[in-house]
């Protein structure tokens, strides 16, 4: 899957889950940058990503996420089989 398509879908998900229309998806975006992004909404975001891309993230993968760039990478890996 093209990175641009992933970014577009993440854009929709992030804006919806974190209730923030001003979010800009970028590789170094983290929870510190977004007010509505706490541990609770983080789970909602992961679940939404899984549903949207029809993938499953392992517990390890979820724990390894440091920024959105990591997330994009993982999605790309899973969607290129």
């Amino acid at each position: 899957m093209q990175e641009s398509e992933i970014v577009n879908k993440l854009d929709v998900i992030f804006k919806n889950v974190f209730a923030d229309e001003s979010i800009q998806i970028s590789p170094d975006l983290t929870a510190d940058d977004v007010e509505g992004w706490d541990s609770l909404s983080h789970v909602d975001m992961i679940v939404s990503v899984e549903e949207e891309f029809q993938i499953r993230l392992t517990t390890r993968e979820v724990a390894s996420l440091k920024n959105v760039g990591n997330l994009i990478q993982i999605i790309q890996n899973k969607k290129t089989v």
Binding site: N16, L40, V43, D44, T59, V62, A63
Partner: protein, 579 residues
């Protein structure tokens, strides 16, 4: 009511209090995470017209909150305490049992702990709602796991049965998560990763199911209940249309399709025995509807099962209002069951407080659709409930009232109705002939023309055939009317006019008469002549000509002859767009 999903409910979490709603205070004591649940609970309770204040006890502090008299729980003074024990926590205890005897005793031990909590809360006069935990998948014995406490699955089963028995004996309210989990599938409901990382009881997407279920329990406990089922006849109680198909033509029993309606009727009967009042609301002549109810050999529900039977040609919203006033019950206690999206939508629009569950196309799925609606929630049952319908029936027989007409003009214009007139074509002939041969009620002369006779109306000079195709925002109804016109001397004769009863009283009749006079003027004729030949089934159209201003000419008992000159005719208004 449309069920919203998890994210939608989260978004709608109210911040400001709505003072007009009934207030309710709920304390949640759980040994799993509850923050997101507490938020969406407020939204779902709003949908049930309650303004909820929720106290979320700290994680895994059930015993502390309960046994400490000075705890915030008691200071909060809740109306309800919702107790939810995670199956995953039970599992931790189970896995820490060293000896088989400990495993054997575990369900009793865990139940005793739960029982002490509940009894303490009740001793402080608090109302408890107990969640019945979902079952685990770990059997370790395969099928044998169900019958031994050495299996986590068997142990949880034993524990759950103790909870249910305790609730039955002490009249405790329950929120059956075991049922929800079974319905959506254990595999979907439980989520190991979410438990491991965040102590979530289940996948977030099922929190709405749990929340709606709890909201229903609270609503019903506060007296917000449904009492009466108002049910349509055609294609709801049986397959087909009694007015057109006749008592031998409708599907009830006999084959798979007919059996689905029997199953449905038996389900409705069981709802009556559970305490529901039953009423019929059908667009049919009263005699024809009653004939089926009384005489069809397969009917499960008979005349005596209904407190009120409304079979007429008035709109259903007016009929339901009438039923409510005859039974002296609120409109908000009525559930309206009808296969037709048109009727459901009309009632929803005209009477928004009436509950109108969506019905699937497949009649074998009717029962499931009603169960899924959540409208039959209850907190008890007594034997008197079984005779409630009979009591209401006797009362209804005593009272009569005039029908009030609701203004449905606005609704009709929102329907985007369209009509298309065509002459008889080869392709349409079978359907046209079928209409002419099968229509009994909206049929002026009951001339059962064959397909060949119909085809003359597209080939022979002086014979004109009109077919009408109808659609609205719900879909295409196909050809719903056929008219056969003959040019006789200097007037146009309506040799046959039939219309499907499905599109009655929406303006199609007006479109037809406009079209007929259009043809008359095109041919330069003086006027239109029509006959009404009364039968036992077509009293519906006895005033057809009169309503359009026709004058009656010579007639005898068997045939009425009517006439209207085109000079005296003015186009009828209606809300249908011509194509």
């Amino acid at each position: 009511m449309q069920r919203k999903n998890y994210l939608e409910l989260l978004k709608q979490s109210p911040s400001a209090m709505d003072e007009s709603l009934k207030k309710v205070k709920i304390a949640i004591l759980a040994n799993h995470s509850i923050q997101q649940f507490a938020r969406i609970l407020k939204t779902t309770l709003r949908d049930e017209r309650f303004e909820a204040q929720v106290y979320e006890a700290p994680y895994d502090s059930i015993a502390f909150e309960t046994f400490d008299e000075t705890s915030e729980l008691y200071a909060f003074q809740p109306d309800y305490v919702y107790l939810s024990f995670a199956m995953q926590k039970y599992r931790e205890r189970f896995l820490s049992c060293a000896l088989p005897q400990e495993k054997e005793q575990l369900p009793s031990l865990m139940f005793d702990e739960l029982k002490q909590i509940v009894e303490k809360l009740r001793s402080r006069d608090l109302k408890v709602i107990l969640a019945v935990p979902p079952l685990p998948f770990e059997r370790i014995f395969g099928n044998f796991g169900a019958v031994t406490n050495q299996s986590l699955y068997g142990s949880c089963l034993t524990f759950n049965y103790k909870i249910l028995e305790f609730s039955r004996q002490n009249k405790l309210l329950i929120n059956d998560l075991m049922f929800i989990s079974n319905s959506v599938g254990n595999n979907n409901f439980l989520d190991e990763r979410l438990w491991a990382s965040s102590k979530y009881l289940c996948a977030n997407k099922f929190l709405p199911d749990i929340s709606y279920s709890l909201a229903r329990v609270i609503a019903v406990d506060n007296g917000v209940i449904t009492k009466c089922l108002v049910i349509d006849l055609d294609n709801t109680m049986w397959g087909g249309i009694i007015g057109d198909d006749g008592i031998n033509g409708i599907s009830l029993g006999g084959d798979a399709y007919g059996d689905s309606f029997l199953t449905f009727q038996k389900y409705i009967l069981s709802l009556k025995k559970r305490g529901y009042i039953l009423a019929v609301c059908s667009k049919n002549t009263h005699e024809i509807a009653m004939d089926a109810i009384v005489n069809h050999p397969e009917m499960i529900l008979r005349e005596a099962d209904f407190a009120v039977i409304m079979a007429n040609w008035t709109d259903k919203a007016s009929n339901i209002s009438h039923i409510a006033s005859v039974l002296n019950i609120g409109l908000d206690s009525i559930v309206f069951i009808d296969d037709s999206p048109f009727e459901r939508d009309l009632v929803k629009t005209a009477l928004p407080m009436v509950h109108v569950p969506e019905m699937p196309e497949d009649s074998s799925l009717y029962v499931k659709a009603l169960e899924d609606s959540g409208l039959f929630e209850s907190t008890n049952f007594s034997e008197e409930d079984s005779s409630r319908n009979d009591m209401y029936r006797v009362e209804a027989l005593r009272s009569t009232e005039k029908l009030q007409s609701n203004n449905i003009e606005e609704y009709l214009s929102s329907l985007e109705m369209k009509i298309e007139f065509k002459s008889f074509s080869e392709v349409d002939l079978p359907r046209i002939a079928q209409l002419i041969q099968r229509s009994n009620q909206f049929n002026l002369r009951t001339q059962r023309l064959s397909e060949i006779e119909c085809s003359k109306y597209s080939k022979v000079e002086g014979k004109i055939g009109l077919s009408a195709r109808f659609s609205d925002k719900f879909g295409d109804y196909g050809i719903i009317s056929a008219v056969c016109l003959d040019r006789v001397e200097d007037f146009l004769m309506i040799s046959e006019l039939v219309m499907s009863c499905r599109v009655l009283k929406r303006g199609v009749e007006d479109c037809l008469i406009n079209q007929i006079f259009g043809v008359c003027n095109l041919l330069g004729l003086e006027g239109v002549r029509g006959e009404y030949i009364p039968t036992s089934k077509n009293s519906l159209v006895k005033d057809f000509y009169k309503n359009f201003g026709f004058r009656r000419c010579e007639s005898n008992e068997e045939i009425e002859i009517w006439h209207l000159s085109s000079a005296e005719f003015t186009n009828r208004p209606h809300l249908i767009e011509g194509i």
